[in-house]
Symmetry: C2
Subunit: 350 residues, 2 copies
DNA sequence: TTGTAGGCGTTATCAA
DNA sequence: TTGATAACGCCTACAA
């Protein structure tokens, strides 16, 4: 098996506890320089790697942060994870990542799993309203940080961004281009971000005295397929199609644009589309996607920093951090076809 | 702190070892039904979660598989991870994922980190030739499975796919369309997959009596930016531009297509582009990308299964699994402009 | 069927 | 400055 501290101690002719001290950055000050070097040399020669599992058992800290994400496949999650990793790296900690697949039972299992492995804290980016009880319960056992999605009724530490503002930006952009028949391709309201995006979007329409051109059933999973299906439903239902659409994420927007092609329509000529997230390659889609940028990497960083803080101050008040969204204008939005909108920039009357 | 087995035992009025047996699926047969139920009930009431860290220390197994990937951001890695997770889930194991960022020092640290945390086995998808010594050394300490990328000179367990065949498919496709001036936008040869893709590509050209139209410096990281830079270099250098390009991954292909637009050229009208991987949204790029599909999810599954097998049979011979690639034809390839190629399908003479 | 005892590798506390 | 000891929580021979 692997080299243990005992073997290092023997080779250096010291007691295991001395070896332990010599190898500990903080305790090594209590050890004579000579023996410290002896131990270090022995450890080096034997290729000693401390057993973090044993250490975790003894110290009650595993140096591990659990992370519950939705789905590795969703591009913005990758950026969140990188942010988390960037911060944890600095202190030799490691993330322990699990997927919940937008499923409450799986999320609960993930939490228990991470607790069972004695993660020091858990970052959850995939929470939905239905998970509140499970998350709050777990929060009594170890620090929990919500990232990206929030639970507004709780007092949990949270790192999110202003989804309301994001929805507002999207709506205003379309209104300013002259659109008056705008639909929303929404995610379900049990996710805080979608609820807020929706609220902001509606507020933006209302400012201009508009209502959604038609309403479709929100979807549970924001996939390419569902984006396609929602847009198909919009086109099938309305007497005449809308001139613009706001999709709750970029992947759905891609699906929606697909559905337009299938119907012989073109984006942005016939229908403009705004996405959300600004995923990698959003600028390489056909057409390059106008979208609201979710500062994923930064959110991940902040979440990890917060988790670390909570470790050392378990009773500190749990902060709520919010970052601003940003509209990224590309080619998927244009003024509406002739005769279908108000003149650009003048759509705000009642 | 958390509920321990001791507390469960006390509440059920049994000895801790009895409680342990009652809760163990395999040992619970040695326990009377009555006490078994008593213990289960006590555990349930207290919300007992076994401490996997302690268990790992005792059993020498942590139920954890380390995974070293390149970069969360690269879309195909997401699929590999999902495959791994899908398999590990069945047995309550968990992946422990780290990034190496195409950096040997980081990869070595990642391996040591995972070993220190006593992962039961490690799956490496990010290996490069320069990492051979570190990986082989680590393989003496715990089972290692190479996935996606291989180390041909070693006897390590491997789950890859046939990159040579993939490169061959790409070249043949372009040749069959009538192209004769074809360039490669390659990754560096220190990664087995890129080396093989390159070899297959050249073999495909050779079949048709062709040579690469021009040669660019392989890149270390296969990013959008590097794809853009390589294509720019190609356009700058050649007397006349090639009519087709084979990029070693989809992300680079996207960058290359960008560079074409910047130069006032169009894909596929002026230059056809073949990518590699078939990432999510590859079919939504502009234009939808013809590419060689890397069976990422399946590779992940097989790697995880292999890792599990190796756990139980540490001395079993290390197999090498290979999956076939598949060419996915979309819109980014077309016959060359008039006067620039052989007639389609007739380019095989010498 | 249940209890006893010992130890997995490490570190904190106490004594020398 | 170093050594001895105990304990973190769990599991498993072995004994009863």
């Amino acid at each position: 098996m692997s080299v243990t501290l005992l073997e290092v101690a023997r080779r250096a002719n010291v007691h295991p506890s001395t070896a332990s001290r010599a190898l500990s950055p903080v305790m090594s000050r209590e050890v004579s320089e000579a023996t410290r070097l002896k131990v270090l040399e022995a450890a080096e020669e034997l290729g000693y790697r401390p057993n973090v599992v044993a250490r975790g058992l003894r110290k009650g800290r595993t140096g591990t942060i659990g992370v519950v994400i939705n789905d590795f496949q969703l591009p913005y999650n990758a950026a969140v994870l990188r942010g988390i990793e960037a911060v944890l790296d600095e202190t030799g900690m490691m993330p322990f990542v699990t997927e919940s697949h937008e499923d409450s039972a799986r999320l609960e299992r993930a939490l228990e799993h991470l607790h069972g492995r004695r993660a020091d804290a858990i970052i959850v980016t995939a929470v939905r309203a239905a998970d509140e009880a499970a998350v709050v319960k777990m929060a009594r056992l170890l620090p929990i940080v919500l990232a990206v999605r929030t639970l507004p009724n709780t007092r949990l530490a949270t790192v999110a961004h202003d989804d309301f503002e994001g929805g507002l930006l999207a709506a205003r952009h379309l209104v300013a281009l002259g659109h008056r028949d705008i639909v929303e391709l929404p995610g379900t309201g049990d996710v805080s971000s979608f609820r807020q995006r929706s609220a902001g979007f509606h507020a933006g329409l209302q400012e201009a005295g508009l209502e959604p051109a038609s309403v479709v059933q929100p979807v549970h999973r924001l996939t390419v397929e569902n984006g396609h299906a929602l847009m198909r439903a919009v086109l099938a239902r309305a007497d005449r199609p809308p001139t613009a659409a706001f999709a709750h994420n970029d992947v759905m927007a891609a699906g929606a644009i697909d559905a337009l092609s299938d119907a012989g329509l073109s984006c942005p000529r016939d229908i403009s589309v705004v996405g959300y997230d600004d995923i990698l390659l959003a600028d390489h889609l056909a057409p390059p996607l106008t979208t609201v940028r979710l500062p994923s990497f930064h959110l991940g960083q902040l979440a990890a920093q917060l988790a670390r803080t909570l470790l050392d101050q378990p009773d500190a008040p749990a902060p709520r951090v919010s970052l601003p969204p940003e509209l990224v204008v590309r080619a998927s939005c244009a003024p509406p076809p002739k005769g279908r909108g108000s003149s650009p920039g003048v759509g705000h009357g009642h």
